[in-house]
């Protein structure tokens, strides 16, 4: 399979890859799998409905990575994919997903990725998903990921979702169920600008005894953009959960943040923190007193905040 420069640029932006990476890989372009490679421990197959993938990581797999990036370069293309990740017991794996859209047309392009991730007993997963959009057209670049996560006994997953540039509209829906001694951490980093809109709706049900969950969000809203962040933690057993959402508001942007805690067990310990505000003047002055210009100081603060 030959990739064009545009494809490679998008792949680098969303999955940080400069060529075909080693290990298990599936690259989807404009609705079709254009490159696929399984590894001995990670099998990638088309699902029975022929609408996506089943990725199976064998029990006891250690330190492997699977790349499943999606790129859209055809104007006005609307893509929908259903992917299932089954991580067997005691496996340790990193999943690098992500979607990049290049749209030079006046028609909207969209990608709807519906993912189910099953983290087996004592398995550990790191899941990275980066969203990116570019192109000169007035057509929107739309990304609507839906993710369902099931963490089985003693399993853990750390999910890092990043959207920094170029996505006009996004509705991200994440639902997770965490069983006994399971652990889930969701980290969202988001920057919106122009007239972009981003909604994130996360609901985590902590079902098992001794389970834990964290939802951490850092976002920056610039220009006329709008963000809605909803994060609900439901404690159904003796468990711990924490929601933290920090946001920096600039220009005429708007942010609505709705953390929600539901405790259904007297031994559930659930906490939340939320803060929205502009860049603190004393932070700017401090960095300027070290020689940075005002714009450099703003950029440094935002870069650190979203790191």
């Amino acid at each position: 399979m030959k990739f064009e420069q545009l494809d490679m640029d998008l792949l680098q932006a969303v999955a940080d890859i400069k060529g075909i990476p080693s290990g298990a890989v599936n690259i989807r372009r404009n609705g079709e799998a254009v490159f696929r490679h399984s590894s001995p421990n990670i099998i990638i197959a088309t699902n029975p409905e022929n609408k996506g993938l089943i990725v199976e990581v064998k029990a006891g797999t250690k330190g492997e990575t699977v790349h499943v990036p999606v790129i859209l370069t055809d104007s006005g293309f609307h893509d929908r994919v259903y992917n299932t990740f089954k991580i067997a017991e005691d496996a340790e794996v990193t999943i690098i997903a992500g979607c990049g859209i290049h749209n030079d047309s006046h028609s909207d392009s969209s990608h709807n990725g519906i993912h189910e991730i099953i983290v087996g007993p004592r398995a550990h997963v790191k899941y990275l998903e980066k969203h990116y959009g570019e192109g000169r057209g007035e057509g929107k670049r739309i990304l609507n990921p839906t993710t369902v996560v099931r963490v089985e006994n003693g399993g853990s997953i750390e999910m890092e979702m990043l959207q920094i540039k170029g996505v006009d509209d996004t509705i991200r829906t994440t639902t997770a169920y965490v069983q006994e001694k399971g652990n889930l951490k969701v980290v969202e980093r988001l920057l919106t600008h122009g007239r972009q809109k981003a909604e994130s709706d996360i609901r985590v049900e902590i079902e098992g005894q001794g389970a834990a969950a964290q939802i951490l969000s850092r976002s920056v809203a610039q220009d006329d953009s709008y963000q809605l962040f909803k994060a609900a933690l439901v404690g159904k057993n003796e468990c711990t959960g924490h929601v933290e959402c920090d946001a920096i508001l600039m220009d005429k942007a708007r942010i609505k943040s709705i953390p929600q805690l539901e405790a259904e067990d007297a031994n559930a310990v659930l906490t939340h923190e939320a803060a929205i505000g502009k860049i603190a003047g004393e932070q700017l002055i401090k960095l300027m007193s070290l020689g940075l210009s005002e714009q450099e100081a703003i950029d440094t603060i935002l870069e650190g905040f979203l790191r």
Partner: protein
């Protein structure tokens, strides 16, 4: 040399009228000399420092750095010309590490010097370099990092705003010792320490006593300390219905 000429600063008072909180300040800070600015709380010490740094714009008067009028220079421009200021209460940053901030303070600072700068202020580099300058650090730790940045910069004029504030007694002595030894060993630099610490007042070259926005006295420690001691005693008696709060 830094020269302040007839500097004043007016702010909006409670009744909306302008209130002058700094009046007629004339000062010169020369290379290779250590200065202490002292005086009662609210007397104008920090305001003078912030005027020098460009954080506050003076209402009147002129500031010269090596003969150049820097009235219209921004905070950034003054920093690039060699004026440095360690804040009394440094801000915290989510996502910026100690290493990040040190590299901003002194671009190109190599790993060895970076580590030395932290060790100098009593911080173990391995424990701090990658830590956020956020809520996880205590006020005393943030203060020491602030001082480490200033010491790493080799600025022409370094202003330390109450380095003792929020720092434990043992650490204060160490910090004072390191500030002194750094500046005594360098050529062409000037240090200004805003302080209430008696030990500092005894070892600088010159003390400037600021009260009610004006320079009350200035001179060597031998000249000024007896005057300051009396002034401070009287002030404390006034503030506590004629009784001493503690022995000076």
């Amino acid at each position: 040399m830094l020269k302040l000429e007839n500097i004043s600063l007016a702010v909006n008072g409670q009744n909306g009228a302008n209130k002058e909180i700094i009046r007629g300040i004339d000062l010169e800070f020369h290379p290779n000399r250590l200065y202490a600015i002292t005086g009662p709380n609210g007397g104008g010490k920090t305001s003078i420092a912030k005027i020098i740094m460009g954080i506050y714009k003076q209402s009147g008067g002129n500031i010269y750095l090596d003969g150049e009028n820097i009235n219209d220079l921004s905070v950034s421009e003054r920093a690039r010309k060699g004026i440095a200021y360690a804040f009394q209460q440094p801000p915290r940053f989510k996502g910026l590490t100690v290493s990040d901030l040190m590299q901003i303070a002194r671009p190109g600072l190599d790993g060895m010097n970076l580590r030395t700068s932290l060790r100098d202020v009593g911080l173990c580099p391995e424990d701090y370099l990658d830590r956020d300058i956020g809520p996880g650090l205590s006020g005393g730790e943030i203060k020491r990092i602030e001082i480490a940045q200033l010491l790493a910069r080799d600025a022409k004029i370094s202003i330390f705003d109450e380095p003792e504030a929020g720092v434990d007694l043992w650490t204060i002595q160490k910090l004072i010792a390191i500030i002194m030894s750094k500046f005594r060993s360098k050529q062409g630099e000037t240090a200004v320490i805003i302080t209430h610490n008696e030990n500092v007042l005894h070892i600088v070259d010159e003390i400037i006593m600021v009260e009610e926005g004006q320079i009350k006295d200035r001179g060597t420690p031998d000249e000024i300390w007896p005057l300051i001691r009396h002034e401070v005693e009287c002030k404390m008696k006034e503030q506590c219905r004629g009784e001493m709060v503690y022995e000076i």
